[in-house]
């Protein structure tokens, strides 16, 4: 089962990696790729010990609002674990439910309530992931950027520090560092 799932997941990545399938500014299978990225964030980000107090505490990836991933995220994280913590996916409609999350993907359906959402998770050790670069600039931690047929990342280091999250330099190498200072630009 695991192998089959993994195989299907790899097949998906294979399709994504094939350059001709990326047509126009819009990425095909964009959310499959984003789901993979969400999974990899678990690998390249370190949470403070109190966020994962015990060995068997699961590492939770939360989706706030409308779920754009369908089954792909569930399939990617199925039976995966990072640092001994099993991965699981939770879907929330309100931010108040998402306190126990480690990674929180904020769907574009929540754009209108962004200020409320961010102020709620503020100071909690939650890696917030949004759909735009603007998201990171507005005290979100990671924002997806779709540019030149590629999916890139914008990281707000100040927000990450405030959330006491350590983002691997390897991940930062792949990202554009943004911050509140640059909001005016």
């Amino acid at each position: 089962m695991v192998l089959a799932r993994r195989a299907s997941c790899l097949a998906l990545l294979l399709l994504l990696a094939a350059a001709p399938s990326w047509a126009g500014a819009k990425l095909t299978h964009e959310y499959d790729l984003k789901a993979t990225f969400l999974f990899h964030f678990a690998q390249f980000v370190q949470w403070p010990p109190e966020a994962l107090p015990e060995k068997n505490t699961p590492l939770t990836i939360g989706i706030l609002g409308e779920d754009p991933f369908g089954k792909s995220l569930d399939e990617i994280v199925a039976n995966e674990s990072v640092g001994g913590h099993k991965l699981r996916v939770r879907r929330f409609q309100r931010v108040s439910q998402a306190d126990s999350c480690h990674i929180l993907f904020i769907s574009s359906s929540e754009m209108g309530r962004m200020g409320e959402v961010l102020s709620h998770v503020n100071r909690r050790s939650i890696l917030t992931v949004g759909e735009t670069k603007d998201f990171a600039q507005r005290s979100g931690i990671i924002g997806f950027i779709v540019a030149e047929k590629r999916l890139r990342l914008a990281v707000n280091l100040a927000a990450a520090n405030a959330a006491r999250l350590t983002i691997s330099s390897k991940l930062l190498r792949q990202s554009e560092i943004v911050g509140p200072v640059r909001v005016q630009e």
Partner: protein, 478 residues
């Protein structure tokens, strides 16, 4: 004593050099092979480590689909000129990034190589998985040329060559120095052996010292020389003694021989006077009283006269024989041909009324005493004439031939011959093979022939058979 083709020193040096060179070359080969193996292992280790480092640095690039970053990670390889190619493959085994960035297709494998390393003709390839948090993200492939290995091998070869040549030079110096210790006593021994063999000088000694077999050999050689020297002096003493004794005996013999000869000469000489008296008075008696005697007395008188005459002839011959032994030889050139012709002329009177065929071949001129050689010819030709008397058609041949550095003269007749069993007695004094009744003679003629020929340094011998004639030979040195 032959000159040796090589020297023991050279042989020793050659043996030592061959040994040390073989050992050095073997050691060098082993060293290079060992170092080569170690270098290969180290090279693989270094490349694997490098692959691990690059893999760790490229996990995020693979995870977040960033080929630019991956290319940049690989670009760091540019600082090492031995790195020929590199590639990152994603989880599906598709090429993700390559080094050099604009690598032509085929520079790196299209699909990831199996994990591990592979040596090819001119390169080393390594493939390692890229893993993050236990999850395989892709594969890294690194390829290096074997420049490092080649350089190492070259350096090793140079070091080994220098070491080998240095060692060989040192070995040669040592061998040349060491061989002296072995070769010198042997050379000294050889020199002594040469001196002994060429100079027959047994008084030399090798006196070579040494604690090895050469020392033993040298000592034994010296002992042997001592023994030879002792025996040689013994032999010399014995020889000298023997020679002295021979000389003594010879002198004694010569003295007694001379005494005997003088005695026989004086006896013969002294016998002549009374014999002349007997002969003279028998003649007077015959002249005056022969007619008055009866027939019997006349017979007696005739016999006395004949016996006295024969005795006279005997004494004359003995005196001649004695003279032959004592008179000095005066050697000149003697023409045997004319001498033989003269003798035959003289003898023709004795052969009157007989049918004798003389046949004389070409005869040479020889060196010798003319009167003595004449006596030889007279004796041999007279004998031939005498003993061919009973033959109706006598034939006497005189010949000569050169053989083995001498001239051999032969006198052959077809007379009564002799029994070859007694051939050795022919040339003795008073030795006669025929009764005096048959053939007159004193038995001294052939003894004289032998004596004269011997004094000339030649030999005498005879061949013949009863009623088959006889051949007498004498030889003279040229």
């Amino acid at each position: 004593m032959r000159t040796p083709r090589t020297t023991i020193g050279r042989k020793l040096v050659t043996a030592m050099m061959l040994t040390s060179t073989a050992v050095l070359v073997l050691a060098g080969v082993v060293f290079v092979a060992h170092d080569f193996a170690i270098s290969r292992r180290a090279m693989v280790q270094a490349l694997v480590t490098r692959a691990h480092i690059l893999a760790a640095n490229s996990t995020a690039a693979l995870a977040f689909q960033n080929p630019d970053d991956a290319t940049q990670v690989l670009h760091a390889l540019g600082t090492d000129p031995t790195m020929t190619a590199a590639a990152l493959y994603d989880g599906q085994g598709q090429p993700f990034a390559t080094y050099p960035a604009s690598a032509k297709p085929g520079t790196v494998p299209a699909r990831p190589m199996a994990t591990g390393y592979r040596f090819e003709r001119s390169r080393l390839a390594v493939s390692e998985p890229i893993v993050e948090e236990g999850r395989r993200l892709g594969t890294i492939y690194l390829e290096s040329d074997l420049r490092v290995l080649d350089q190492r091998l070259k350096a090793d070869a140079i070091v080994v060559l220098i070491a080998v040549f240095g060692s060989i030079t040192l070995a040669f110096a040592l061998a040349s120095w060491l061989q002296r210790g072995i070769a010198h006593p042997i050379l000294a021994l050889a020199e002594v052996a040469r001196t002994v063999s060429e100079g027959k000088d047994y008084s030399v000694r090798s006196r070579a010292v040494g604690d090895d077999e050469v020392g033993v050999l040298s000592e034994a050689f010296d002992q042997m020389l001592g023994e030879i020297q002792r025996r040689e002096s013994e032999i010399r003493l014995l020889n000298a003694d023997l020679e002295r004794r021979v000389n003594e005996r010879t002198a004694e013999l010569e003295a007694s021989n001379k005494e005997l000869e003088a005695f026989s000469y004086s006896v013969s000489h002294d016998l002549r006077a009374p014999l002349r008296h007997i002969d003279g008075f028998v003649e007077l008696l015959t002249k005056h009283a022969f007619a008055s005697l009866d027939e019997k007395a006349q017979g007696h008188l005739t016999k006395i006269s004949a016996a006295a005459k024969q005795m006279g002839a005997l004494i004359d011959d003995l005196l001649a024989f004695s003279r032959v032994g004592r008179t000095e030889m005066r050697k000149t050139s003697v023409n045997l041909a004319s001498m033989t012709a003269d003798v035959i002329q003289e003898l023709r009177d004795d052969a009157k009324g007989r049918l004798v065929e003389w046949k004389v071949e070409e005869l040479p001129t020889v060196q010798g005493d003319p009167s003595m050689l004449r006596l030889v010819l007279v004796n041999l030709l007279a004998n031939a004439l005498k003993y061919s008397g009973p033959t109706k058609e006598a034939r006497i041949e005189v010949g000569a031939r050169a053989q083995n550095g001498e001239i051999v003269v032969s006198v052959r007749d077809n007379g009564v011959g002799f029994d070859p069993a007694y051939a050795h007695k022919l040339f003795g004094v008073f030795q006669r093979l025929h009764a005096s009744k048959e053939f007159e003679g004193t038995g001294i003629g052939l003894a004289n022939v032998r004596r004269i020929v011997n004094r000339h340094g030649g030999r005498t011998w005879a061949e013949g058979a009863i009623q088959q004639g006889a051949t007498f030979y004498f030889s003279l040195p040229r």
